[in-house]
Amino acid sequence: MATYTSYPPKGYRVRMSTYWWLGRWPYLKFILREISSVFVAWFVIETLLQINALIDGPEAWLEMQDFFSNPIVIALNVISLFFVVFHAITWFNLAPKAMAVRLGGRRVPGILIAGPQYVAWAIVSAAVAWLLLRG
């Protein structure tokens, strides 16, 4: 008889609500962050559609432009833009947490890991904008 019998009380389990993520702001922010990937995917699909239209020729391209002039699509794209920016910002800000870079025995401050990503983003955006708008 080496071991003992434990009689802990039957614990009461509080069921987690399906709407748990509405309960606290950090949870809501998390869900929004995750949902933003859907909008990123939407942007990717749009880009692919545009490329496809380019390949198909000028009529396909004009049809595409009509599609994109539709106010619903514009509204959707504005919302998507917000989410994509949100996605990028949260991603950049989380990167320093996942990367513990140490130089000379001290941890590199987060801003030096997040910062360069913002800078790179700004440069690439500027380059793309110049390419698209110069003509």
């Binding site: 009461y12 748990w20 947490k97 025995g105």
Partner: protein, 247 residues
């Protein structure tokens, strides 16, 4: 300042109740009093059957974790005046089975802690007379933060993944595993890799990050887990490229 504040506490006695209820007590509102002082006031002077855990009341033993107005807190470090005029709602720690009043069952955490092998693993051990394993202050600094965990389990209360999936290893257990992985004296990285790099190990974490927000000791378990994800991925790539060894 008002003289009193209402304290709404969860009451639950499985011998008597089918489900938890709430009971309200009026307690003195003093500038220096923390929520724990209010609970002790109730237990000493009003209703001795109110049950809760506490010990050091200085934020180092980790016993007194509870939900205060919906946030996981150490009740010994939460001033009553921050909630004036009240009421202050005190509930048992979320995501754990409630045994009695404000007391939850935490054996699940202890099992998970044992699973991640939170001890120094070495091939060859030195005798004490042979002196210490050398470690520079910089090497100590790499894991010191993760060694500060007081096992208060506020992070488990904050983690929605643990709430939805009780099989998830959880922030504290993973952070403590990482504390040993990063310790320059430890040689157990590969042993722990197989245990941690599992669906219910680090890969269960979706980086909500709330665990780090509520941690009273600034352990940053979310950071520990994400860093370990990078490490585990690197090891996986290495094992693909160099299947013949290199562990």
């Amino acid at each position: 300042m008002a003289e009193q504040i209402a304290l709404e506490v969860t009451r639950f006695s499985p011998e008597r109740d089918k489900a938890p209820t709430v009971q309200s007590f009026d307690v003195p509102l003093r500038k220096e009093w923390v929520v724990l002082d209010a609970l002790n006031y109730v237990k000493d002077k009003v209703d001795g059957s109110l049950s809760f855990r506490w010990s050091c009341r200085m934020g180092v033993c980790g016993s007194c974790g509870m939900m205060v107005n919906g946030e996981p807190k150490l009740t010994c470090a939460t001033f009553l005046t921050d909630y004036a005029p009240g009421p202050v709602r005190v509930e048992p720690l979320k995501n754990f089975p409630v045994m009695r009043d404000l007391i939850v069952e935490i054996t699940d955490f202890l099992e998970k802690l044992s699973k991640v092998k939170p001890w120094l693993i070495r091939e060859k051990e030195k005798a004490p007379s042979e002196g210490e394993y050398p470690q520079s202050p910089e090497q100590l600094e790499t894991f010191r933060q993760y060694s500060m965990c007081i096992n208060c389990l506020l992070c488990y209360a904050a983690c929605p993944v643990y709430g939805l999936d009780p099989l998830f290893a959880g922030p504290a257990a993973l952070a403590l595993a990482q504390r040993y992985n990063l310790d320059s004296r430890d040689e157990g990285k590969s042993e722990r890799l197989d245990i941690l790099s599992q669906h219910d190990g680090i890969w269960g974490c979706t980086f909500v990050g709330d665990c780090t927000q509520v941690c009273p000791k600034h352990v940053d378990p979310a950071g520990a887990i994400q860093q370990y994800k990078l490490t585990a991925t690197q090891e996986w790539v290495k094992s693909l490229l160099m299947p013949w060894g290199g562990k």
